[in-house]
């Protein structure tokens, strides 16, 4: 009884915080999505599902959503792919340099996100470093905007930006793996690559999934990177569509509708995802 009361007391601030800063704003957004107008129009008092009709009757919007999911998924997979070796090295091979290396990986991530995007632009532009290098090597005749203003540029930038963050969950899981298991595997005659495939990798899956989701979900709603790095098509993803409604278009109800759709779809995707790979099993151990 005493214990229960203590739990209640301790949990209350957190619950309040969650209610005030998460549930209430989310509900406000949901309510906005069924309003007819934004601020001053009379229609704002009318409740309507018209915005949802607009969303589902226009194939461009749904098409854009799936393109965004695909983009975010490829960013997530690539980020994990590049992060895994980094995390592996940090966990198993860094030795006494571990703290230094870990810091070296994290510190660039403290730089302003925008600054890093601008830096990438310097690399990829037609007068950028990569082009200058190719030019001076005589490999190309004139600078090509091959990477800038394209979906490739968006994906490259996002992967680069996410790598330090994606490495951490994998590193933590790898670091916790009992070294005894690896020794046992070696003692039993497994070559290193088999030890990796049959022991290390399966044990690190929770970290990989955490890392993938950590990248995938925020990328779905990102609008700054496409805006700065994207071309005509790739400068508009679902996040940009939402941002447009709250910004220039001044259509908060439509923006809320897109947002609600995004939130619900992410939840559904997560549900399906967790069923498919049976996520709980990994976290139980």
């Amino acid at each position: 009884m005493e214990n229960k009361r203590r739990v209640a007391v301790l949990a209350t601030p957190l619950a309040l915080l969650l209610l005030l800063l998460f549930l209430i704003p989310l509900s406000t957004m949901a309510i906005y999505s069924i309003r007819g107008g934004t601020f001053f129009e009379e229609e704002r008092f009318i409740l309507t599902v018209n915005n949802y009709k607009v969303l589902f009757s226009n194939p461009s919007f749904l098409n854009l959503f799936w393109r965004t999911v695909l983009m975010a998924l490829s960013v997530g997979l690539l980020a994990v792919l590049f992060s895994y070796p980094i995390a592996y090295f940090l966990a198993f091979r860094s030795g006494s340099n571990r703290v230094t290396l870990l810091t070296m990986m994290i510190v660039p991530a403290w730089t302003s996100y925008l600054l890093r995007i601008v830096a990438i632009k310097f690399l990829l532009g037609s007068n950028g470093l990569i082009n200058s290098l190719l030019l001076s090597a005589g490999l190309i005749e004139e600078g090509l905007p091959i990477f800038l203003y394209s979906s490739k540029a968006v994906v490259i930038t996002l992967v680069y930006v996410w790598i330090p963050f994606a490495s951490l969950p994998i590193f933590l899981v790898l670091d916790r793996i009992d070294r005894g298991l690896l020794e046992a595997s070696a003692d039993l005659g497994c070559p290193p690559w088999q030890t990796f495939l049959r022991v290390t990798l399966p044990l690190s899956i929770p970290g990989v999934i955490a890392s993938l989701l950590y990248v995938f979900i925020p990328t779905l709603g990102d609008y700054v990177t496409p805006m700065l790095m994207g071309g005509v098509q790739s400068s508009t993803y679902f996040g940009n569509l939402i941002q447009m409604q709250f910004g220039a278009a001044m259509d908060w109800p439509m923006g809320s509708t897109f947002s609600v759709f995004l939130v619900i779809t992410i939840l559904l995707l997560l549900l399906i995802f967790s069923r498919l790979i049976n996520i709980q099993n990994y976290f139980k151990t």
């Binding site: 601020f39 001053f40 129009e41 226009n58 461009s60 919007f61 098409n63 854009l64 393109r67 302003s112 925008l114 600054l115 532009g125 037609s126 007068n127 600078g143 905007p145 800038l148 203003y149 609008y223 700054v224 805006m227 700065l228 994207g230 071309g231 005509v232 098509q233 400068s235 508009t236 940009n240 569509l241 447009m244 409604q245 910004g247 220039a248 278009a249 001044m250 259509d251 439509m254």
Partner: protein, 369 residues
Amino acid sequence: MALALLLPACASATPTSPPEATNPPEPTSPPQPTEVLATEPPPPPKLEGDVNVVTWAGYDGAGFTDPFYAQYPDVTLNFSLITSDNELFTKIQSGYQADAICSVWEKLYIENDLLQPIDTSRLTNWDSIPEALSKNGVFLGQQYFVPFDWSYVSILVRTDKVTTMPTKWADLWNPEYKGHVAIIDSSQGAAVYTAWALGIDPYNTTTEQDAQIEQKLLELKPNLLTYWADPYAMMQMVTDGDLWVVGGAWASSFTRLKNEGIPVEYIVPEDGGRGMWIGYFSIPKTAENLDNAYAYIDYMISPVAQAVVGGWGLGMSNFDAVSLLDPALVKLMGMDDLSILERTRFLEDVNMSQLKIWNAMWSRVKAAP
């Protein structure tokens, strides 16, 4: 300025004054404040306190504020910067306390009764503003808006990159420029320029014509490199040679690029000529520092402040400042020539229902594959 949609995240991270503010075009030596002040009438009344100004990045630069503080040392200018008219309107509509705002839109503020009329007798520089400009700020028989600056809107061309010079708005669709065209990321801008290219009056469209404009904008997509929102990012793309033809570019971008020696031209499109916007100062009903607001607005239309605007290649509302500028620049931009009002197509003030149609269209165009 009017149609700029700098991304909000960027706005918070970039310094508040753009390079232009600290780096006016070379030939234009900025007037010494004291020199001009000497010609100003009697000493201004002693003022103190704040002025809360909602305006555009760049208008908060030292070029503007230093002479103001020299004149009113006890007044503090507090700037809140916006990146689009939409944002400004939303801010004022939701009750933000401001003493002076700088907008291009007018009707929406009047429709929603957000402003107080201007007592022009409190502005010592008022008489220097030509009526051709000031009459646009009159609503319900009263002056609500003080013209501050204006700019052309036209097509900017990187002349060394194109083989055929574009001559009209419809040339944005010319496949020769495929992959090197940009238009402004603004629903109003995109719709209006497309309507001009189609020979349609943008402000009186039928439903069929709206569909026609939307279709035409979809057809432009293969020709585009990007939509431009931030003029500085756009100028960088022109400098890099990635962007050859820019639809909806402002005069200030052109003069800046030209001063940097980039081979650019700013055309007068055959199908209707250049567009034009006017920026106005007005005083919201929420103003709390009325005396200071008048002092600030009066200062912003004084020759000192106007010369800064002119140095950027933007038009000035106070034609007395023309003499302070480089004559070549004045001639290049036609800054002393009021007849531009007849020769350009005015980017008309919008009302809500028109804006809604454009915004919805723009969302669909941008989302389309």
